[in-house]
Symmetry: C2
Subunit: 468 residues, 2 copies
């Protein structure tokens, strides 16, 4: 790595930190909640803001493209002919904020407190994609040009579970052609433990509605003589697991290999503390019998209810037999599981187990497979070195329990090796109230990105930077 | 019965129908939803309105009394020394209206359409208690005085499940002393089938919250490694019933006798049509194996979930493991079941069955026993005759699946035999959207009350009319 250029960028950051952060605050203030239709104008506004900023930091070719939903912000920034091309993926949309009353800080009035920047999207993923803009600007300003060729791909539908990006990628293979796909949308294993993730779980989703009587009925006048959809829903959902945390759906585990002893040993060697986990979650570790917490998170699939509701949920009592009850489910998948098959076996289970007297309405959502990148890939090895330079500590190789469905789709469509270079911390509270980004992670993360591009500048590229 | 006085009252009704209905519309327009704290002023306003109306129709002594919650509207109207005294119970509070979007008619802008008066409370119970005011006014106006002694007792906490009336009655035994307790808060068995009800199911209630992690967690980052309260809730609720509609809580059925063959035959003789039940509910009859629909409703206890909720319930997907999940339960009890014991065995079951990794918070509500009045009581026999006169058809003896906890309490405290003289119809949609009152039931019901007081005028009273 060219240490001189690294130090030049480092000085640039020191001088320009405040200005970039101020713009990030404006970006975070836009409530770009893609799952809620009423926020559609905000999502589009966030896309325009991001495109403007990308131009501002020096990207010579920025476009808003239409993938069939919210805009894709695309930017091409060639730096060095013959050097590798990196496709940098991020998303500018954010999760809903409910329950809003649980936030101490206003989710869309970003504020810095105790060295952290609080806002919805601060860590997932507006704050992280922002580091790439800052890093590119610093490298270009400090060294005249980029040591690699960059293509930025920022979407606005990651949090909807129904992104159009896979189709978009299939239709724009040349535009997106790259040697490595870099995603900064994950977390360090722990504070002070720089981490590159080589795996993500996949995802499958369902919504279900159990319909009973044609209208709400009085539970005194009719109770006992018609099926109660709330009971049926509880019975259906309870049938999804056995008493030992295993998914009780026939075929769910098809294709899942027992964990490799080497991998189990590697996981056992990570600095994982159950006490820290307890403090972080406020919960006792609990899950599938026979596995450690990290194995449950990284090597085992899950089937989770994310929401359910029906009948009277207000204050007091309402003696009602409601007309329907509903639930939302998602599964996290591991290598070997075929999302289409998981969608099918869960649907089959739910239909077969639906109790008498009610009707099941099932809406399967999308599915995406798990992703896994070899630990000895040059792109992963360079990432470890870059992290060690910027964070001044050894970097570990981890996996992620979460899913970024588009990573699976991009890998499949473009054939590009993904590297998950995430700068979040486990207690960033993503998808939860008071989401935040640690500002030291923010500062060192930008430098790690600079180091990564400098590391990759020494690798021979495939020439795809010219593809359009 | 004094037919001349009956016909005089009948003529009075014919002349004064519109004026009384107009005032009822004003009464129904007050959203006296006792379960929702934000409607507290409306509940009090409804009490004042009712007290004013009671004075208006001629009741000489009307008071607003404080039972420790919403006011009791009390009126004493002596009519005939030596004749029986009837305590007329009703409630001026109403159920919540959710889901509001399911109403075609505005719940608090009463309107007449197709011979029915649409409004929350039209049948349960503002419209029914109103008939008593109209009947007393007609009798007094047409005949100079009442043939019996009336005491009106209208409360505002019936729909909360936490009425203070039992304590109030215990503290006011003399004030409320009567020969018969008349409640008009139930329904005819079917349109055209005048009915006196001799039984009500009892009630017990619980609210439960299942607590998991200290905050909402991302279901990718943490899924599989902490208990999901939504799963735990589903498992708990599913454990309450077996696959054949029976309650699976040990001790729940203690004290419940197998149905008497004579009672089963009597129920089988009622003009019950499964097709009409299907049309009414929009559901297939379904329930405890081995019992008919009427047996399930009147002779068997139930344990029902009335509401549940947790996690993300909005549009789209939110991959969350929520911090908690909650549910509301009620049981309907039959003779032989002790509410305190039912509360205890269900609590015990829930605590024992609470899955690992979560904490159960359980709030038991009140309980009240089932009520049953002998069919050959003089008060019941007079009621059948009165119904037959006003509705010009034979009257049947039925039971009710619902509960009026205060009836059990009043019976126990005052020792007064209750008679359930309800004028609703099964499709009045009480506790549901578009609640209504059939206006023929309203007109004939007033006449049946007149006939009942005239019938009772011939019975010797116990002199409690002077009690105070």
């Amino acid at each position: 790595m060219d240490e001189g250029r690294y130090l030049a960028a480092d000085r640039y950051f020191a001088l320009h930190h405040a200005a970039g952060l101020e713009e990030l605050v404006r970006f975070l203030a836009i409530p770009s909640i893609s799952a809620l239709p009423e926020h559609a104008p905000d999502v589009v506004r966030a896309a325009r803001f991001l495109a403007d900023r990308l131009r501002q930091v020096g990207c010579p070719a920025v476009e808003l493209l239409d993938p069939g939903g919210y805009p894709v912000v695309y930017g091409a920034w060639p730096g060095a002919a013959g050097a590798p091309t990196a496709l940098v993926y991020g998303h500018y949309d954010v999760q809903p904020v409910d329950p809003p009353e649980a936030w101490y800080h206003d989710p869309f009035a970003p504020v810095v407190a105790d060295g952290k920047l609080y806002a919805r999207g601060a860590s997932d993923d507006k704050g992280q994609l922002w580091m790439h803009l800052e890093a590119a600007q610093a490298l270009a300003a400090a060294a005249g040009r980029l040591p690699v060729n960059l293509k930025f791909l920022f979407e606005g539908e990651e949090e909807t579970g129904a992104s159009h990006l896979a189709g978009f990628a299939a239709a724009h293979r040349e535009l997106l052609a790259a040697d490595v796909l870099v995603i900064s949308d994950t977390s360090f294993f722990a504070p002070g433990v720089p981490s590159v993730s080589c795996g993500l779980r996949g995802l499958a989703a369902w919504e279900l509605v159990v319909h009973g009587s044609a209208r709400d009925l009085h539970s005194g006048e009719f109770g006992g003589a018609v099926a109660n959809p709330l009971h049926s829903l509880a019975e259906l959902l309870a049938s999804l697991h056995d008493g030992e945390g295993r998914v009780a759906v026939a075929g769910f585990y098809d294709g899942v290999a027992p964990p490799d002893p080497g991998v189990r040993a590697e996981l056992a060697g990570l600095p994982f503390e159950e006490d820290a986990f307890r403090r972080l979650t406020g919960a006792e570790p609990w899950g599938e019998v026979g596995y450690t917490t990290l194995e449950r998170l990284w090597l085992r699939p899950t089937l989770e209810v994310n929401g359910l509701g029906g009948g009277f949920q207000g204050t007091g009592i309402k003696t009602v037999l409601p007309t329907s009850a509903r639930a939302k489910l998602t599964a996290r998948l591991v290598p070997g599981q075929d999302p289409a098959r998981v969608l099918a076996v869960v649907e089959d289970h739910l239909r077969r187990r639906c109790p008498p007297g009610v009707r099941l309405e099932l809406r399967p959502g999308g599915g995406s497979p798990a992703v896994h990148t070899p630990a000895d890939s040059p792109w992963v090895r360079a990432a470890r070195r870059a992290l060690e330079r910027a964070f001044e500590r050894p970097a570990v190789l981890i996996r992620s329990g979460g899913s970024i469905p588009v990573v699976a789709a991009l890998r499949e469509t473009l054939g590009t090796a993904p590297v998950l270079l995430g700068f979040g911390l486990p207690d960033d509270a993503i998808h939860a109230p008071d989401e935040r980004l640690d500002l030291e992670q923010y500062a060192r993360g930008q430098r790690a990105i600079v180091a990564y591009w400098l590391e990759l500048g020494a690798v021979r590229g495939s020439g795809v930077e010219k593809a359009r």
